[in-house]
Symmetry: D2
């Protein structure tokens, strides 16, 4: 079954509100929480090199990615932002910042996407 973003954000909000947690979810703390979850995601790869670093526990990867996404969705929602529009807009901007002819095959010119 395919899920929609609306279903996901509604579930996140319902989970939050049942626990009366909105009081803790100011933007700054959501951003900090997102960073902490991103660090837990990184911990799965710590001390590993390729190709071993691709063989990480799938279940842990799913959980840490879910946590990162949850806080990103909650922060976007708090500011009335749609995640898909955000990303599509950024791709348009990045296309100007990293023109194909200049960026092709080079990682040293960019630190993003």
């Amino acid at each position: 079954m395919k899920h929609s973003y609306e279903e996901v954000i509604d579930s996140l909000i319902k989970f939050r509100d049942e626990r009366d947690w909105e009081q803790f979810h100011d933007s700054k703390n959501l951003a900090i929480a997102l960073s902490i979850e991103a660090a837990e995601l990184n911990e799965l790869f710590l001390w590993k090199q390729l190709p071993e670093s691709e063989n990480i526990p799938k279940e842990k990867l799913k959980e840490e990615l879910a946590d990162v996404l949850s806080f990103a969705f909650l922060l976007a929602h708090k500011h009335g932002l749609n995640p898909f529009e955000l990303v599509l807009d950024k791709i348009t901007k990045n296309a100007e910042k990293y023109p194909v002819e200049k960026a092709k095959g080079k990682s040293d010119k960019y630190s993003e996407l």
Copy 2:
């Protein structure tokens, strides 16, 4: 106009492939990139307290959130994972971990969502 996740991930992959960047996008580096973008998101809130910390430049917030989401989507896609399923599964798990009666109104019992 409403966008779908498929549209977004296809655009991200197209952007990446036009620049021949898949070679850099192993899982570990995607996770590091995600953390770096999460830190740039946090920088918007640095040294600020409530309520000032809610008044951050909207355009910057959009860009940093977009970067975080882009790397999260690319990492999920690399492992054949759907972001919505991930989050919905995690909500189910968290509902067991944080039962309403115990977690209600308390931030000190959890460090996640």
Copy 3:
């Protein structure tokens, strides 16, 4: 009793070598480890506002700060750098970047120290 930096870095190296861990300690992984420990430090403050955010468990603060410092010292040592010189040099640079008359009492002009 007062300890010296030499005593500290020698102890860190001895601990590492007894466990044959130098093989894992390339610069990139040390930097990732440092970030993960910084995130664990941040977790102590998550969801808290002033003044409550100053009342964190002292023992946890000590441990997380120690972990951050350990990886920072190991990374500096790997590159033949002395932590004190690094910081003193940076203060000299920052003094030019943030002249007193311009920076006084303003947090919005800088994102560093």
Copy 4:
């Protein structure tokens, strides 16, 4: 010339006070700032694999490590903690947590130091 920790922390405090920045330096914001600088340090290694990842610009490495150390020292100082004692105490704890016979040559058993 050899520098002492006292000289370093005194210089950091002097720099801070000349700019009237202590008002921004609550513990939580110092921890966030530390994480942001740690991410900037990680950015030096992004998309790089060994052995290339060891060849990073020395001057940038020095600056980012200095920023991380500065915020770690300021946070330690705020809580009356000596960085060297912190690390030496943690080594003693870690020696119990990671006994040589169990930890030797294994990275998968630990996520710290």
